[in-house]
């Protein structure tokens, strides 16, 4: 009971209260600023161990997939190859093993295996994913701007003004209207959402610190 329930709740209480108290004190208040900075460092350390747990999980689930020849097992093989390739050459480069100068390029400018994988495989794949956003924005906008009712029509008209005001040809004529729309009605709505969300986050934090909200520990209130 102590390890499963009381200890996590006690740690949560301390980890929640210390940053709040530290916020109200100046930087020279070492009695509270120091524990606060320890907490921030601890988060990084705990994340490091958790990442190891994640890597183990990736290996286990993908090896299982390959062994059982499940649907898409080839993707699992590619994933494991990529992970070990980058992991091994990245670690070896960082430790300068096997004549590797680091994780960048050799002195003559040719890339190390890690740099090659990063520049010629990883970065283009990342860019490809990000580039898809342009097409998805177009398809989402098409759906959102269809004139179905009064609200959708207002949205369409507003969107047309904003789009025209954001391109060189329309900036002169619609720039000020666009700015007004973004700053006044849009800004007001956004601030309303932000204030509500901030108070919601504070309320949730209070519930977590006081041990009322326990679902993140997988526990019910009654436990």
């Amino acid at each position: 009971m102590f390890l499963r329930l009381r200890l996590p709740l006690l740690l949560t209480l301390l980890a929640g209260l210390i940053p709040i108290i530290a916020f109200f004190f100046k930087d020279d208040a070492t009695f509270i600023k120091k524990p606060n900075s320890w907490l921030e460092q601890d988060m990084v350390i705990v994340s490091g161990f958790a990442l190891l747990l994640g890597v183990v999980n990736v290996v286990q689930s993908n090896v299982r997939k390959i062994e059982r020849r499940e649907k898409g097992w080839l993707f699992a093989a590619v994933l494991l190859f990529g992970m070990f390739f980058m992991g091994i050459f990245g670690a070896a480069g960082a430790m300068r093993l096997g004549g590797l100068p680091g994780i960048g390029n050799y002195p003559n400018g040719t890339p190390t295996p890690f740099a090659w994988g990063s520049v010629y495989m990883f970065t283009p794949l990342q860019s490809t994913m990000f580039a898809l956003l342009a097409f998805y924005i177009a398809s989402a906008a098409f759906r959102a701007f269809r004139v179905r009712n009064l609200e959708a029509t207002i949205l369409l008209v507003a969107a047309v003004f904003v789009m025209l005001g954001r391109i060189p040809v329309g900036e002169g004529a619609f720039g000020s209207v666009t700015e007004w729309m973004m700053q006044v009605p849009n800004g007001a709505a956004q601030r309303g959402i932000i204030i509500g969300a901030a108070l919601g986050a504070a309320s949730l934090s209070l519930r977590v610190i006081l041990g009322i909200e326990r679902s993140y520990l997988g526990l019910e209130k009654s436990e």
């Binding site: 994640g54 299982r64 949730l204 520990l217």
Partner: protein, 259 residues
């Protein structure tokens, strides 16, 4: 007291007012007081989404955002995950929870395991339900999008903290024909979710989800306290607008300014 930062006195006052209001309403709720909480369509639709997946014999995909457990949105998301996992356990529906952050992964695994235990179906739980994908944002997006396209889940939950991947995931899910429930407090991502998803939990609705779904009086009391604080903040804004417009009490603006 020489270490106290006097420039943050206003924040301390608001913090104390907030705590007093929240604790008062929690106390009132525990004493059996009647608390009205408005209906949240996105949370009521969870039953419909899981039910649909069950009828179609397809999986439920739950994406808990891409931030770590120190982010409040992730904690709120885990509360919804707990509810969804209990339902999938009860109905025997397949659940898939891919993770980007390793700490969120560890917490989500614990949350789902406990949910299956509480639903009385520990036999249905397996370690593959909650799995780790990668720490890279777009590699994670590619993996989850791939799952949506290949396995076509009947229900997608995109609840937590999202950034550039929000529309990539939501549009892929929309194209796959899944019923989609999203929720985030990232203001810049909300329009994308509203466009591409069937239901969206906007800002504070996400934070209220755990309390709303659990129907726990003390949790509902905290939402009531939060609402009254919001009313106090709205009043302060209104007073600020009036004072600034007629040029009186300049000290008020100075005092409520955030430092």
């Amino acid at each position: 007291m020489e270490h106290f930062d006097a420039s943050r006195l206003n924040a301390l006052v608001l913090f104390i007012v907030f705590c007093v209001l929240v604790l008062t309403f929690i106390g009132r709720a525990r004493a059996g007081g009647d608390l009205f909480i408005r209906k949240i369509a996105g949370l009521n639709a969870i039953d419909e989404a899981v039910g649909r997946a069950t009828e179609l014999g397809k999986k439920v995909l739950y994406v808990p955002g891409i931030q770590s457990i120190d982010e409040n949105q992730t904690i709120a998301s885990l509360a919804v995950l707990s509810h969804v996992a209990k339902m999938t356990a009860r109905y025997g529906t397949e659940l898939d929870v891919p993770n980007k952050d390793p700490l969120t992964f560890a917490s989500a695994r614990e949350t789902v395991r406990e949910a299956y235990m509480q639903a009385g179906r520990p036999d249905l739980y397996n370690e593959g339900i909650v799995h780790y994908v990668t720490y890279d944002q777009f590699a994670y997006t590619a993996a989850v999008s791939g799952t949506m396209v290949r396995e076509r889940p009947a229900a997608n939950f995109l609840i937590g903290s999202f950034f550039a991947e929000s529309l990539l995931l939501a549009e892929t899910g929309q194209a796959s024909g899944a019923i989609q429930i999203a929720g985030t407090a990232e203001v810049a991502q909300l329009p994308f979710f509203v466009c591409a998803c069937d239901y969206t939990l906007i800002g504070e609705e996400l934070y209220a989800a755990g309390a709303y779904l659990s129907r726990e009086p003390s949790m509902l009391g905290s939402i009531k306290g939060q609402d009254w604080t919001k009313a106090a903040v709205a009043l302060a804004i209104l007073l600020g607008v009036i004072f600034e417009s007629v040029h009186i009490f300049p000290a008020f603006k100075q005092w409520i300014s955030i430092n």
